[in-house]
């Protein structure tokens, strides 16, 4: 072991030496080259020195106007060695004052001396000219063409910015190369399976650069003012009524949406799992469907129906009812329709897991159905209900697309931070606001994860009996089913409206049938659609593979910092998209990593955001697979990469596929983060939908929404088909 460490250190020292040698020869060569080219410039310029007072002044002026690479000053009479200047320098004022101040400096004396002997001299160190500008100084003789007399000295100064930038780049480059080398050498020499080491190093690097670093940058910027530490951003925000009302707006919206969604979700779950209502399949399907509807689609149809020119608004106006859908009530309605599936899925699982035998026992003890519900079923479901509420609350707070179109006068944080960044160009405020949004989101998320989820009693009871205990009287059942079908019909109406919107000439004004919108939308969105699909298609396999690798390492390997890595990988799941988007533009628009405006920043953002879900799926699926299957492959001679390719990936295929389709769909329907990251070159179709809606081109927006809905449903459909084919395999694995 010690011998190994010594070997490692020796190799590393060798790398450092070689690296330093390359570094110093490259930078020396660069310095020499710039020095030589500057000297040449000095030579040529000095050769053009004209004689005569007027001419010199004229010449100096011309030089100053012509070039910005150097400055010149002219010293008309060379001082005697050790004596002050006898004349005032002419030319560039800052340089002139530097010359007259430092005329006695040995470097200047040397310079004048050289000029007297018709030589060019470069000062051995840089000088500060004017305001904090490091400049290289050259001294050249001013020679009268006719008499060949030295009439004075020309002092040239060159900016050293280029060199400094070059050196900075070299430093970064060599530092990165050194770290990379150290990691690679360490892995190759120390570890028994370097592939795993590289994978781990890669994951750590990825999360540090693309999760931790942007968040840190956002946090840092919110504490900066003019490049210095300051609390002023936060003071402004916390004292401003406008920003605080946005915080309250977000919280209010979150509470209302969470409450309504939980009620609707519970209703759906209860009817499906505790009653003999008809059409349960339909109820279940419609209870999940909205969760995958693309952003803006529900809002769009609400506007089409209830907006200022909406179909239903008109009718209501006729009977004298006037209202505006823009604002809190409209948003709560849209969000509830879009988010109650989260509550339904959570509560459906919870109610199914509660053993019906409890309820049967209660009924047998001649408790009424209502008593059974209120004393048994409901209390048992309370942790699940809290959990559902918190989940919807987080989702509502982070929601960006719906408020964007429907907020009206209501201020919410996600929207405010977007306006600060794109409208006001106040990045610091935007960052601070999105961090402010993170506080309630993260609290609710953590509460759900670690407090409520741990308290659920449902798992304690044995196997679910599979039978259904009817907990409602026929009348109650009919009422509940009635409410549910009303909601379902409303949902179908919303989707139908979008579809109808495609074929109407000008919604709200002219309802004649027309295909114009479709042709126009398709011609105007081809590029954006192509971009969107391309970006999603690139991000999807990357996210899928990385997710499975990360899951494999987390489940099967012991390593230091596992908890940290897990946390970093999972963090983006709890982050509002606006925060992620803002922190990305903050972090990647300056050195050392500049990505703003590229496709890479969007792809990376997709990958980072969708990884957590893929990883969780991978972990759950790997936990079901006997580790000795992988060990058997290793034992037969497969290295880690081969095991991953030939054994792990085929075995976790269902999880892998669903992670793929999830990433694809989420990338196709992204808004909140991607709206900050798009550029003229790389556009996103959801942003286009938003632009169309903003310009009241609802027909075009409807067409694009329909296209997105078709793509999303298609992707999920294909995935389900493929996974079903694999289901006999999954059964065998466990």
């Amino acid at each position: 072991m010690n011998k190994k460490i010594i070997n490692f250190i020796v190799t590393l020292l060798f790398v450092v030496l070689v690296g330093y040698w390359i570094y110093s020869s490259v930078s020396d060569e660069f310095m020499k080259q710039t020095g030589a080219s500057q000297r040449r410039t000095v030579e040529t310029v000095a050769a053009g020195y004209p004689s005569g007072n007027e001419e010199v002044i004229e010449w100096l002026k011309r030089l100053e106007a012509e070039t910005s690479t150097y400055r010149v000053a002219f010293v008309p009479e060379l001082p005697m060695p050790g004596e002050k200047l006898t004349s005032t320098p002419q030319g560039d004022s800052e340089l002139s004052s530097l010359v007259s101040e430092n005329a006695l400096d040995p470097e200047f004396a040397k310079g004048f001396d050289n000029a007297a002997y018709e030589e060019i001299y470069k000062s051995s160190h840089n000088w500060t000219v004017g305001k904090n500008e490091e400049q290289a100084l050259f001294f050249a003789p001013a020679i009268d063409m006719k008499t060949h007399d030295v009439e004075g000295a020309l002092v040239f100064s060159f900016s050293t910015d280029g060199e400094q930038n070059f050196m900075r780049m070299m430093n970064t480059l060599f530092f990165c190369a050194f770290v990379l080398f150290a990691v690679v050498i360490w892995q190759l020499m120390m570890s028994r399976d370097p592939i795993v080491g590289f994978a781990l190093a890669g994951l750590f690097l990825m999360t540090l650069i693309f999760v931790a670093y942007p968040l840190f940058e956002a946090l840092r910027l919110s504490f900066l003012e003019n490049g210095k530490f300051s609390l002023s951003t936060w003071k402004t925000i916390l004292q401003s009524e406008g920003y605080m009302s946005a915080l309250w707006g977000s919280l209010k919206l979150g509470c209302w949406t969470a409450t309504f969604s939980t009620i609707v979700g519970f209703l759906f779950a209860f009817v499906v799992s505790r009653t003999n209502a008809p059409c349960k399949k339909l109820i279940s399907t419609m209870g999940v469907l909205p969760v995958i509807s693309p952003p803006f689609s529900l809002t769009l149809s609400i506007i089409l129906l209830f907006g200022n020119n909406g179909l239903i608004t008109r009718w209501l106006r006729v009977i004298g009812l006037d209202f505006s859908i823009y604002g809190l009530p409209g948003l709560v309605l849209v969000q509830t329709m879009g988010m109650f599936p989260i509550a339904f899925l959570t509560l459906g699982g919870v109610l199914q897991a509660i053993d019906s035998t409890f309820e049967e026992a209660s009924l047998n003890l001649s408790a009424s159905r209502f008593q059974t519900f209120s004393k048994i079923t409901f209390p048992l479901a309370i942790p699940g209900i809290l959990s559902a509420w918190l989940l919807v609350f987080t989702t509502s707070l982070a929601d960006f697309a719906n408020p964007l179109l429907l907020a009206g006068d209501l201020k919410v944080l996600s929207l405010e931070s977007y306006i600060e960044v794109t409208g006001m160009n106040r990045l610091g405020h935007g960052a601070a606001l999105s961090i402010l949004l993170l506080l309630p989101t993260l609290t609710a998320f953590l509460a759900q994860r670690f407090w409520v989820a741990k308290r659920s009693y449902v798992t304690v009871t044995g196997k679910p009996s599979g039978r259904i205990t009817e907990l409602t009287t026929p009348i109650v059942r009919r009422i509940l089913t009635g409410i549910i079908f009303a909601i379902i019909i409303f949902l179908i109406m919303l989707y139908g409206t979008i579809f109808a919107g495609c074929f109407v000439k000008n919604w709200g004004i002219d309802y004649t049938f027309s295909l114009e919108n479709i042709t126009e939308a398709i011609t105007r969105s081809t590029d954006a659609l192509f971009d969107t699909v391309t970006l999603a298609a690139i991000a999807t396999p990357i996210a899928g593979i990385i997710a499975m690798i990360a899951a494999l390492l987390i489940v099967r390997r012991k390593f230091h910092g596992k908890k940290l890595l897990e946390m970093l990988l999972m963090t983006p799941f709890a982050l509002p998209g606006t925060l992620l988007g803002i922190s990305y533009i903050l972090a990647f628009n300056h050195a050392p990593i500049i990505l703003v405006g590229t496709a890479a920043i969007i792809i990376i953002n997709y990958v980072i955001r969708e990884l957590p879900v893929g990883i969780e799926g991978g972990i759950a699926s790997l936990r079901q697979i006997d580790p000795s299957i992988e060990e058997a492959a290793t034992d037969l001679g497969a290295d880690q990469a081969t095991v991953f390719r030939t054994i792990v990936l085929p075995l976790v295929r269902p999880a892998f596929l669903s992670s793929l389709s999830y990433t694809f769909v989420r990338s196709m329907t992204a808004v909140s983060a991607v709206i900050f990251l798009i550029s003229a070159r790389w556009y996103h179709i959801t942003v286009l939908i938003y632009n169309f809606s903003e310009n009241l081109r609802f027909g075009l927006a409807s067409v694009l929404s329909t296209v997105l809905i078709i793509i999303v449903f298609g992707a999920f459909g294909i995935m389900r088909l493929v996974v079903r084919e694999n289901s006999n395999l999954t059964k065998n694995v466990t």
């Binding site: 028994r192 399976d193 006997d626 000795s628 299957i629 060990e631 058997a632 492959a633 290793t634 034992d635 037969l636 001679g637 497969a638 290295d639 081969t642 030939t646 054994i647 085929p650 075995l651 395999l729 065998n732 694995v733």
Partner: protein, 303 residues
């Protein structure tokens, strides 16, 4: 294939318990040597470190200290895929997404052998384990015993120097177990392969092994042939583990020399302390009665 010896030199394996953070010595410094072509069984109660020894030999665990040799090569730091060992797992570890023939041929495929050669060799090995007709089936449609044979064929086909078997028969019913035991022994002998076998079934150990290593709490208590261990266990633990025993707690009052000359010096010169004597007496009933030692030693029962 050339069979190789295996040497464990003062091997220790310490696990850190993730909850309490305490160190647990799963293997507390063991040394032994397997001769080429020998089948040695690791025998001991649950948790004594048998699997850990096997996993260190196959490379899945890295010893905390000590040296492992296969033949003349130090393999202590060699990763499992580069070691010349093949393991048969208790749960078989068959690849569920491949059929039987693909399972058996997996190791050959990794070695970049042409497909037609793989096919012939796979067929040969499947016939050797009596599954000649089953190549196209998925492993899930085989019985437990058949799956075990596939696992065995898959390990043997890569011609390892050392075959490792971790309780390979524990998932089978009693009858099948006996059958497979014979089969494994037959294959191991005919291929002349060095084998290490883990079990806590003493009948299995007795009937299968060239030698047995008895372990307890990470230590080796005794190494010997089955009959050595059966007849001359070093202590009550071994005695209790390998045979049906009755223990007679007793106290030594005095000694008289043996008439038939067996172990006279040991009995005569030693002052018998309680553990020694109990070790000597608490062997299985047949032996105690046969050697009639009880009559030569003046003892009185204390209980």
């Amino acid at each position: 294939m050339a069979s190789k010896s295996v040497t464990f030199d003062n091997i220790k394996k310490i696990f850190r318990d993730p909850q309490s953070g305490q160190d647990v010595a799963a293997v507390a410094g063991v040394s032994f040597r397997l001769e080429p072509g020998e089948l040695v069984t690791l025998l001991g109660p649950s948790g004594c470190g048998k699997s850990t020894i096997l996993r260190m030999l196959s490379g899945f665990e890295q010893p905390t200290s000590g040296k492992i040799m296969i033949g003349d090569n130090d393999v202590t730091n060699t990763p499992p895929n580069k070691r010349d060992t093949a393991m048969v797992f208790q749960s078989y570890g068959l690849f569920p997404h491949m059929n039987v023939a693909e399972n058996v041929g997996y190791g050959l495929k990794l070695r970049k052998i042409p497909q037609n050669e793989i096919d012939t060799k796979v067929q040969k090995f499947l016939e050797m384990v009596g599954l000649g007709q089953m190549g196209k089936r998925p492993p899930s449609r085989l019985s437990g015993g058949q799956q075990q044979r596939v696992a065995l064929a898959r390990s043997l086909i890569v011609e390892p120097s050392v075959l490792l078997l971790d309780e390979p028969l524990s998932n089978l019913d009693a009858l099948l177990r006996e059958q497979m035991r014979v089969e494994i022994r037959r294959l191991q002998k005919s291929l002349g392969i060095t084998a290490m076998y883990v079990t806590h079934d003493r009948v299995e150990a007795m009937s299968l092994s060239d030698r047995i290593i008895v372990m307890k709490l990470g230590h080796i208590i005794q190494i010997g042939t089955p009959s050595d261990i059966y007849r001359d266990p070093v202590d009550t633990f071994v005695a209790g583990f390998v045979g049906k025993v009755a223990f007679f707690p007793c106290e030594v009052k005095g000694l008289s020399p043996l008439r038939d000359g067996r172990n006279p010096s040991r009995l005569a010169t030693k002052r018998w302390s309680w553990p020694d004597l109990s070790r000597f007496l608490s062997v299985n009933r047949e032996r105690v009665l046969k050697t009639e030692l009880l009559r030569r030693i003046s003892i009185s029962a204390t209980a």
